[in-house]
């Protein structure tokens, strides 16, 4: 690694107000250097997902600038930028009825011509890479032809990781990648993600709800609340007191007590609404 790693992801004054008036992000500035494993913590509704989705333009911020590896995110550069930014999802987001092989290969789709894509005729190197990553995440050759939906949650997320690495990403965004997995598998999955990213010197921005895992895997912890970054430091600096303040009804020393979050209750409903949009 370089002595002074260059900035890979730069968010400048990102703000987001949803059409319903919710202020999900309030002028967030964040710089993530190359190769860093950056964990984002914060209570539900803090804006973690919204922030991650700003990086690859899945969410259009109302204000602010996104810059990834020197490319500023605009409608014109979106495609080029997205090729450098992989994403791992809480719900794995696999095509459950398609085979594991098809799911992993689909991670290479931006690099394949339309005709090849429609025939499923991927380049031999891409097939080799798919096999390589599937082996690496701990799946077996006979998983290739299985339907993704038949796998367990942990196995599905492994497929998700393999898919994410198909394009040699510079940045990997992971939105609660282990939210629905047991503690042991969660640790394994995060270790896989960290190691695979290290090999490519890829930057990881990962939102989590498990503080212990955040401390274990994060090079850096960013605490968010109410759409603002309220903590930014190393895992060592993130002590019990700061933890309690992040998640509970706490006074952050600016004399302004924070209220509990009604949004946390409305969470499933919002996911459903997004799915139907």
């Amino acid at each position: 690694m370089n002595a002074t790693p260059q900035t890979m992801v730069q968010l400048n004054g990102i703000g987001k107000t949803w059409p319903d008036g919710t202020r999900a992000l309030n002028t967030v500035d964040l710089e993530v250097p190359e190769g860093q494993f950056c964990v984002i913590l914060g209570p539900s509704g803090a804006g973690k997902s919204t922030l991650l989705r700003a990086v690859n333009g899945l969410m259009q911020p109302t204000e602010g600038k996104v810059n990834v590896d020197g490319i500023e995110l605009t409608p014109g550069t979106e495609k080029a930028l997205r090729k450098k930014v992989a994403m791992i999802h809480q719900h794995f987001n696999l095509a459950t009825r398609a085979s594991v092989a098809a799911n992993v290969l689909s991670g290479a789709l931006p690099d394949v011509s339309l005709a090849r894509a429609l025939c499923g005729w991927f380049h031999p190197e891409q097939r080799a890479k798919a096999c390589h990553y599937l082996e690496r995440v701990g799946l077996k050759p006979d998983h290739l032809r299985r339907r993704a939906g038949e796998l367990s949650g942990g196995q599905q997320q492994r497929v998700g990781i393999a898919r994410a690495f198909m394009l040699d990403p510079k940045v990997v965004l992971a939105d609660e990648p282990v939210a629905s997995l047991d503690p042991k598998i969660s640790r394994d999955i995060l270790a896989l993600l960290r190691d695979a990213a290290r090999d490519l010197n890829a930057t990881v921005i990962c939102s989590l709800h498990q503080v212990d895992l955040a401390r274990e895997f994060g090079d850096r912890i960013v605490g968010m609340r109410d759409g603002e970054v309220v903590f930014d430091g190393t895992p060592d600096e993130f002590d019990e007191q700061r933890l309690n303040r992040l998640y509970h009804n706490a006074d952050w020393g600016d004399g302004e007590p924070r209220e509990d979050h009604p949004e946390a209750e409305a969470e499933p409903a919002r996911h459903a609404a997004m799915g139907g949009a």
């Binding site: 979106e78 930014v85 994403m87 696999l94 398609a98 689909s106 789709l109 931006p110 998700g160 997004m274």
Partner: protein, 341 residues
């Protein structure tokens, strides 16, 4: 184990909740209105007369009354339709290339005497002459004709379905609001689908016969166009309702719309697509037997011709053939379905 007494509300407790009965006066009014509607429409469609005539027919059959219009009508039809015609006989002289030493299978030459009346142009009188002509008699000739027509019907249905599927796939893409290139293409595609769906096959075929002439072209087009509307609508709605998660995953890496459709939507909707297509094939097989009534090829065209010539024996043969055809297809499709599920 911890057990606690279940709390009981105190006697004078007043709850702010309401749990109403499922029906109210409003529903009663609606029920009465529906009843009135039924009575009025029933009268306009002569449901009362239908009931009376049917009762009369049943009474006649069990010997309670002497006469029934319905039974008389049906009896007349049945008389003229039985037995079904199986054979054909063609005048040998008209079959120019008939080789009498080498007749087609199961056929034979018969001589029949026909009495012909001819107007003598000189005397202006009707003269009766008796001629003996040779005919080629084929005992199963008409069955053969019907069989060939049935195959044609099957082919019309298959091609109609093929046409429908290939038209409706692009149509569905444009008609899915989340994949259509823009608002205009979406509106046009939806409009086209409604248009195709709204016109019944028989009516489409009527006009297509004018354009393409009698024969299977009109039939295939009529079946294909109507079914394309149906399939386009259902394919498009499945695309719209498909799980968004895998699509988001591919959108996040910038895969593009068509590739996303192919890799994130198609695997999910494919089983439904197969089911819709199977339904359309089934429907087209039935419709193909009817569509010939307006001249669009297949067994229906033969049926119409015979019906118009009062050849009720032939009509009977055709009806039996259609019944067997549909029955066999039902059996086959039931088997296939049982195997697929």
């Amino acid at each position: 184990m911890i057990t606690r007494p279940i709390p009981v509300p105190p006697k004078d407790a007043r709850l702010n909740w309401h749990l109403d009965q499922p029906f109210r006066l409003k529903h009663l009014v609606i029920a009465v209105l529906l009843l009135v509607l039924l009575v009025v429409t029933g009268q306009r469609t002569e449901m009362d007369r239908m009931l009376a005539m049917t009762t009369e027919a049943v009474g006649n059959l069990v010997g309670l009354n002497d006469d029934s219009q319905v039974v008389r009508g049906l009896g007349k039809v049945a008389d003229s339709m039985w037995p079904p015609t199986l054979a054909t006989s063609e005048e040998a002289a008209r079959l120019g290339d008939l080789d009498t030493d080498n007749l087609p299978w199961f056929s034979r030459i018969e001589s029949t005497e026909t009495v012909r009346q001819r107007l003598n142009t000189d005397t202006l009188e009707l003269e009766t002459t008796t001629e003996t002509i040779e005919v080629l008699y084929r005992p199963m000739g008409y069955v053969q004709t019907v069989f060939v027509k049935m195959i044609e019907t099957l082919e019309i249905a298959l091609w109609g379905t093929l046409l429908a599927v290939s038209l409706s796939i692009p149509l569905a893409w444009f008609a899915a609001s989340n994949y259509s290139p823009n608002r205009a293409t979406y509106t046009i595609a939806r409009g086209l689908i409604s248009l195709l769906r709204s016109v019944p096959e028989l009516i489409v075929a009527l006009f297509l016969v004018l354009a393409y002439g009698f024969g299977p072209i009109a039939g295939v087009l009529a079946l294909g166009l109507h079914a394309a509307g149906f399939l386009g609508k259902f394919y498009a709605e499945d695309i719209e309702n498909a799980d968004k998660h895998p699509q988001e995953a591919l959108e996040a890496i910038g895969a593009g719309k068509i590739k996303t459709l192919w890799y994130a939507v198609m695997p999910q909707v494919l089983p439904q697509y197969v089911a819709y297509t199977a339904y359309i094939l089934d429907r087209n097989l039935r419709m193909a037997t009817v569509i010939g009534l307006v001249g669009a090829g297949g067994i229906g065209q033969e049926l119409k011709g015979r019906f118009d010539m009062y050849d009720y024996g032939h009509v009977m043969t055709i009806l039996i053939a259609i019944f067997l055809f549909v029955f066999v297809l039902d059996q086959i499709s039931a088997r296939i379905r049982a195997r697929m599920i």
